[in-house]
């Protein structure tokens, strides 16, 4: 009993166990919901819903929002679930962070200013969100769900996600820092 409980209270599992788990989850998601696991469209829908809220319906006029449809759907709930699932795992393993603004790797190179980190995260988020919709998917939609279906679009995307990411990360930590 003790070992079964401790599996869930362990902070980390083997990345292979986690990966196999996500792979099995993709089977179930296809079989039960007929859909691949993907997340970035939900952020675009949220952006549109916020614009509608502020402007009283202006987002509904935009062709892009007509295409992706501004409503709470399966995938939107999936993203909410990711927040809850991560929270659950973090809480039961004593890993929930309180008051952490600056990741330690970032702090080791750029200091512990929360303002700097938040501004950079904001800028990075803008680029990431724009790029995710430009590419038609993200690390989950293309990087896992698309590549496991052997989609050409997803293999090309996954490769260039990492090409762009690896070059930029090295630039940030080896040139700027």
């Amino acid at each position: 009993m003790d070992t079964i409980a401790s599996i869930f209270t362990d902070t980390y599992w083997s990345p292979y166990i986690v990966g196999i788990g996500i792979g099995v989850l993709s089977w179930l998601s296809f079989l039960i919901s007929g859909k691949p696991i993907a997340t970035s469209t939900s952020f675009a829908q949220t952006g549109g819903i916020i614009e509608n809220f502020i402007t009283g319906g202006k987002a509904d006029e935009r062709p892009y929002y007509k295409k992706i449809k501004l409503k709470i759907n399966w995938q939107w709930m999936l993203v909410v679930g990711v927040v809850l699932g991560s929270f659950l795992s973090a809480i039961i393993s004593g890993d929930f962070k309180v008051g952490v603004w600056v990741p330690s790797l970032w702090a080791s190179a750029f200091g512990d200013s929360a303002v700097l980190r938040v501004l950079v995260a904001l800028a990075g988020g803008v680029i990431l969100g724009f790029g995710a919709r430009f590419a038609g998917g993200c690390t989950s939609g293309h990087g896992i769900s698309g590549t496991l279906q052997l989609a050409v679009s997803s293999w090309v995307s996954a490769i260039f996600f990492f090409v762009g990411g690896i070059i930029t990360a090295h630039f940030i930590y080896l040139v700027i820092a």
């Binding site: 916020i50 679930g81 990741p103 803008v126 990360a169």
Partner: protein, 198 residues
């Protein structure tokens, strides 16, 4: 009277059933999300240090998770496809989208240190840079794309269009002719990563 009442009750029941049926996908989505988020956290993929460590090629956790998910998923998905249980759900692609768009994504991935799925996990994990900075940025970035979409859709997004094909379709071979070597290559790559000490 009696029959009329019954009829209206049946339509009401039908409506209730329709409403429940309509909501069922939302609960399944939530459930799959909870499991996905739980696994992402257990894998350490909700942490900036792990994700950026991968991009700096000092920590291979993210690649190990992704590749073992892809191998597992691919075998099951193609097995179920061959039995006719499921249909693939492919994204159409182009050089503009999947090279230029993906490179832009990659820059944001490194600057932010989270991606759309893992930032949801990072929020659940309590990281405040993800909640305050990253989430707001992603919402803003997708909105900028939505505003620019009419200008992009017939230009750069269509550049080098290749549609929603799979690698087996592209090579005009049986699915398993690609699945088997792909699985073997990924497993070999993972063994090699382990042996190299990452």
């Amino acid at each position: 009277m009696e029959t009329k009442k019954q009829v209206s009750e049946t339509t009401q029941d039908a409506k209730d059933i329709a409403a429940v049926e309509d909501r069922r996908p939302l609960f399944f989505g939530l459930g799959f999300g909870i499991l996905f988020g739980f696994l992402l956290h257990k894998g350490g993929a909700t942490k900036y240090d792990v994700i950026v460590g991968q991009l700096l090629l000092t920590d291979f956790t993210v690649l190990k998770i992704m590749l073992s998910a892809v191998v597992t998923g691919m075998i099951g998905i193609y097995f179920m496809k061959s039995l006719g249980w499921i249909k693939l759900s492919l994204k159409s692609g182009s050089v503009g989208k999947n090279v230029i768009g993906a490179l832009i994504f990659g820059v944001g991935f490194a600057v932010l240190g989270y991606c759309p799925g893992t930032i949801a996990g990072a929020i659940g994990n309590g990281y405040l840079d993800a909640i305050v900075g990253g989430l707001a940025g992603i919402l803003l970035g997708t909105w900028i794309f939505a505003v620019m979409y009419p200008k992009l859709k017939d230009g750069i997004l269509k550049m080098g269009d290749f549609g929603d094909i799979t690698i087996p379709r592209l090579l005009k071979v049986n699915d398993w002719v690609v699945v088997v070597p792909a699985v073997a290559l990924i497993v070999l790559l993972l063994f090699w990563i382990e042996r190299a000490g990452f």
